[in-house]
């Protein structure tokens, strides 16, 4: 028992309670304490044995421990050393590390700055680009840049001070651009003002080339012109002008939102320019063609450019506006040209101006501009041109007529003959066979005038060329002008010619000449038909074109003859108291009659009508003068002898008249001029008073042409003369009777006279 308890205690570490209780309660305490002592003695013995056994090791260990102590001290020193070393090295390292850290921070900062800067950079480059664009006047891109700057770049960058500055700069720049573009526009406007005449000139030239184009010339141009064409400048007139400033300006203004304002401005400017263009640069366009050319070029150029802008379609020019402007301008152009051309007296200048206007009209058609009222103007100018030409030819005709000798052309040889035949259409069949010198019936002024009329027609047709008239109309107009020239201008010159006295033979020649000229008008018409290429129209006869002139000439011939008759009759030397007639006609009468018959034979070239008129005038004059001689109140007395002498002279004249001095007279026609004189003489010399007084008042009576007044007057003179002669002689019975009868008749005649008078 006690043994087990010890084991139990030994076996169990804790929970010793139950074991102690059992001992405490059991009787075995001494056994137990004894066993416990035994046990203690056993453990002591084991402890002693164990101590014995581990003593050596213990000693050793202490020894070793001592050893370790030294080693440890050794180690400690070593470690301190190392530590110091390490401490030294790490100090620089730390400094480096700190530097590194700072560097790293700087690096980071730099990166951030770069990033910011990169953001700013486009803005700045754009800004500089903007500046350079503005500087290079590329305003439209500049505006675009500006916009980009304003709306994209600036907000992106942020609120920097300089950004704000740029921002404030933007409106200023914009304004500057607008101003600059306006300045450009002004430059452009000025430029096109200078260029538009060239544009017009080029357009006119092209039109001319086009009008003159024919298949042959095109082929020729093709052959020659390919290489040339490449080197040539602009192909179209408007290419002469660089429109880009205008378009730029327009773009700029549309970007700026001021497109309409701009268009209005542009149109207003152009309208003003148009006004300037329409006032001719040189005051007198009629001085030279260059003035007209420049003027038309400028106008045309102006509108070609506008028309181009219209077709370019930028909206700058509207069709209505253009037509409106043109309508205003063309009227002005027409009136300017009208006033200027109306003063021109130079046909060549007129022609060139007409040519320019025609070209102008054609060019206008090419550009689709209405041409009214220019064709009307051309028509008016045509009339003026005709006038101018006529005035010019009046001078020519006057010159020809003033220097004309009016003697028939005489040619000495074939050359001269051919020369005349070449210039004037004359049917020379008869002349052809005659020996030289041959004599044409007309004078040299006839071919001269004929040639001049042809020249006139040439000159006249020059105007109508290119007016687009058809041949027949041109020919008709040319015919009309030519006959107007002849019937008005030439006839006018002829009448002027008749104002001075011309020798008889020249008058005759003029009449003959006009006949040949009239005959040649048909040839002129043929000539016109040939050059105008139209049918010959022969309906218009020019037969009496110069009739007025011929009448003038005939009148002058008559006047001349009458004057000569007067001169002869002024030589009259009647002795009114002649007792006995000489039995011969007075010498002035015989001279006169032989002179007249000589002259009348030399008038044989004259048309019958004219010769008849001349001889009528002459005989009538003779009769009148002789009759007046008889009844002249200054002659107070006429003896019967003187009466017989006069009667003898009258008989001479009557014989001349009855002898048909020129052909074509009615039988006895000339004698009628002497009828009243004859009746008076018969009455007085035949003393046939009874039948006179009986027949008086009866038509067709023997003395119906003798008035009682004339009869009384002559009777009175006879009475006076008889009274005078009877002073010497005693009156016989029959003379007394005669005197009585005479008194009675005289009384009756006086009565009749009074009856007529009352």
């Amino acid at each position: 028992m006690t043994n087990a308890t010890i084991q139990e205690i030994e076996g169990i570490d804790d929970y010793w309670g139950p074991a102690f209780r059992s001992i405490y309660e059991g009787e075995g305490h001494e056994a137990f304490v004894q066993q416990l002592d035994e046990r203690i003695k056993q453990h002591d013995k084991e402890i002693e044995k164990l101590c014995n056994f581990h003593y050596q090791g213990f000693i050793d260990s202490i020894r070793e421990l001592l050893q370790v102590r030294s080693h440890a001290e050794e180690l400690h020193a070593e470690i301190s050393n190392v530590d110091a070393n390490v401490k030294d090295t790490t100090d620089s390292l730390c400094a480096k590390a700190e530097e590194l850290i700072r560097a790293r921070r700087v690096e980071l900062n730099i990166a951030a700055t770069i990033e910011k800067m990169e953001l700013c950079l486009p803005l700045l480059t754009t800004y500089s680009k903007l500046k350079s664009q503005v500087e290079a006047k590329r305003y439209y891109p500049a505006l675009k840049t500006l916009e980009q700057l304003e709306h994209v770049l600036l907000p992106r960058v942020g609120p920097y001070k300089w950004c704000a500055q740029i921002s404030t700069d933007i409106p200023r720049l914009r304004q500057a651009i607008q101003d600059a573009s306006m300045a450009d526009l002004r430059d452009f406007l000025e430029n096109i003002r200078k260029l538009s005449p060239q544009v017009g000139a080029m357009a006119l030239k092209q039109t001319q080339d086009m009008l003159g184009r024919s298949l042959a010339s095109i082929v020729k141009n093709k052959k020659e012109g390919i290489s040339a064409r490449e080197s040539t400048g602009p192909q179209c007139p408007h290419e002469l002008v660089d429109f880009s400033p205008l378009h730029r300006c327009l773009h700029i203004h549309s970007v700026l939102g001021a497109k309409n304002d701009f268009i209005q401005y542009y149109r207003a400017q152009r309208k003003q320019q148009a006004r300037l263009v329409l006032i001719p640069a040189s005051v007198n366009l009629h001085d030279s063609i260059q003035g007209v050319k420049n003027y038309l070029n400028a106008v045309l150029g102006f509108f070609i450019l506008e028309e181009h802008l219209l077709s370019a379609g930028a909206g700058l020019v509207s069709k209505d506006w253009l037509l409106d402007m043109w309508g205003m301008s063309v009227t002005k152009v027409a009136s300017t040209l009208r006033t200027n051309t109306s003063l021109i007296t130079d046909p060549t200048l007129m022609l060139s101006i007409k040519h320019q206007i025609v070209l102008f009209i054609n060019t206008l058609k090419c550009y689709g501009l209405p041409t009214d009222p220019l064709p009307m103007l051309l028509q008016e100018m045509a009339e003026h041109y005709t006038e101018v030409l006529m005035q010019r030819w009046v001078v020519v005709f006057r010159d020809i007529l003033d220097n004309a000798s009016f003697v028939p052309i005489e040619v000495e040889n074939q050359d001269q003959y051919d020369e005349v035949m070449d210039t004037f259409p004359y049917d020379g069949e008869e002349l052809e066979t005659q020996p030289f010198p041959r004599k044409f019936p007309f004078s040299s002024s006839v071919p001269a005038v004929y040639v001049q009329v042809k020249e006139f027609i040439y000159a006249w047709l020059k105007y109508s060329a290119g007016l687009g008239l058809c041949g027949a109309r041109r020919a008709a107009a040319a015919r009309q002008s030519a006959s107007l020239l002849l019937s008005r201008s030439f006839t006018g010159c002829l009448s002027a010619l008749f104002r001075r006295p011309l020798p008889l033979m020249q008058l005759v020649q003029i009449i003959v000449d006009t006949q040949y000229l009239e005959g040649a008008t048909l040839c002129l018409y043929e000539f016109i038909s040939n050059i105008t290429g139209s049918e010959l129209v022969t309906t218009q006869t020019a037969g009496s074109m110069f009739q007025a002139a011929r009448d003038d000439a005939e009148q002058q011939i008559c006047d001349k003859l009458e004057k000569k008759v007067d001169e002869f009759l002024d030589l009259e030397n009647y002795d009114w108291l002649l007792v006995e007639p000489t039995g011969q006609a007075s010498s002035f009468v015989t001279d006169m009659l032989s002179y007249l018959s000589g002259v009348l034979t030399s008038l044989e070239q004259l048309p019958e009508r004219a010769r008849v008129a001349a001889v009528r005038a002459a005989t009538n004059r003779i009769a009148t003068r002789l009759r007046n001689l008889l009844l002249d109140p200054a002659v107070k007395q006429i003896s019967s002898g003187a009466l017989d002498q006069l009667n003898l002279d009258v008989i001479q004249c009557e014989q001349f008249a009855a002898g048909e001095p020129v052909p074509g007279l009615k039988e006895g026609e000339l004698l009628e001029h002497f009828a009243s004189l004859r009746q008076l003489l018969d009455l007085i010399t035949g003393w046939d008073w009874s039948s006179y007084l009986h027949d008086i008042g009866i038509d067709g009576g023997k003395y119906s042409l003798v008035t009682p007044r004339d009869a009384a007057m002559l009777l009175e003179k006879l009475k006076e003369a008889e009274q005078k002669s009877s002073v010497f002689s005693v009156l016989k019975k029959n003379e007394r009777d005669r005197r009585k009868l005479l008194d009675t008749v005289l009384k009756q005649l006086k009565q009749l006279q009074n009856q007529d008078g009352s």
């Binding site: 001169e567 011969q584 001279d591 000589g598 030399s602 002249d632």
Partner: protein, 210 residues
């Protein structure tokens, strides 16, 4: 009726074509000159009244065509002429030589007592002269005719030529008148009817008048 003249003299201009007969007459009658030559056709006349010793003398001057083809017309006028001017052109030898022919013409056709005078015209054209003045004078002496050089263009001696001829005719006429009318009671201031030479028949009237 008052007469407008005291004497009427009929004068005749003859000579070759182109010597200036018409020009001389034109100068004398109109005092003008026309350079252009228009040959006279047939015959023409001009009348000018001059004053000679207080008498009004009417000159009826007949201008004849020099061209041969008008000869028959012109010779008819020789008969009635009282004075004849023979005109030649000093620049034209032929016209001077022809003066002899013209004188023969006068002798054949004109009345015997016709007054004659030789005119050397165009004496202004000294450079072209072919006939010297001396030759003209010599010819005149030969025929016992008065001679004078004239220029119708420069109006040289034209007046005096006509006046001389007219004066000679007048003197001759008055002389004849005195011879036929020795009483001399009614000379001067008389009309042509007192000119008995030309109109023998007028003697009758004269007798009966006295």
């Amino acid at each position: 009726m008052a007469k407008t003249y005291d004497y009427l003299f009929k004068l005749l201009l003859i000579g070759d074509s182109g010597v200036g007969k018409t020009s001389i007459l034109f100068r004398f009658s109109e005092d003008a000159f026309n350079i252009s030559f228009i040959s006279t056709i047939g015959i023409d006349f001009k009348i000018r009244t001059i004053d000679l010793d207080g008498k009004k003398v009417k000159l009826q001057i007949w201008d004849t065509a020099g061209q041969e083809r008008f000869r028959t017309i012109t010779t008819a006028y020789y008969r009635g002429s009282m004075g004849i001017m023979l005109v030649y052109d000093v620049t034209n030898e032929k016209s001077f030589e022809n003066i002899k022919n013209w004188i023969r013409n006068i002798e054949e056709n004109a009345s015997a007592d016709v007054e004659k005078m030789i005119l050397g015209n165009k004496c202004d054209l000294e450079a072209k002269r072919q006939v010297s003045k001396e030759r003209g004078e010599q010819l005149a002496v030969e025929y016992q005719i008065k001679f004078i050089e004239t220029s119708a263009k420069d109006s040289l001696n034209v007046e005096s030529a006509f006046y001389t001829l007219a004066r000679d005719i007048k003197a001759k006429m008055e002389k004849k008148q005195e011879a036929s009318n020795p009483a001399g009671a009614r000379t001067g201031g008389h009309q042509l009817r007192n000119e008995p030479q030309r109109k023998p028949t007028s003697w009758l009237s004269r007798c009966s008048l006295l």
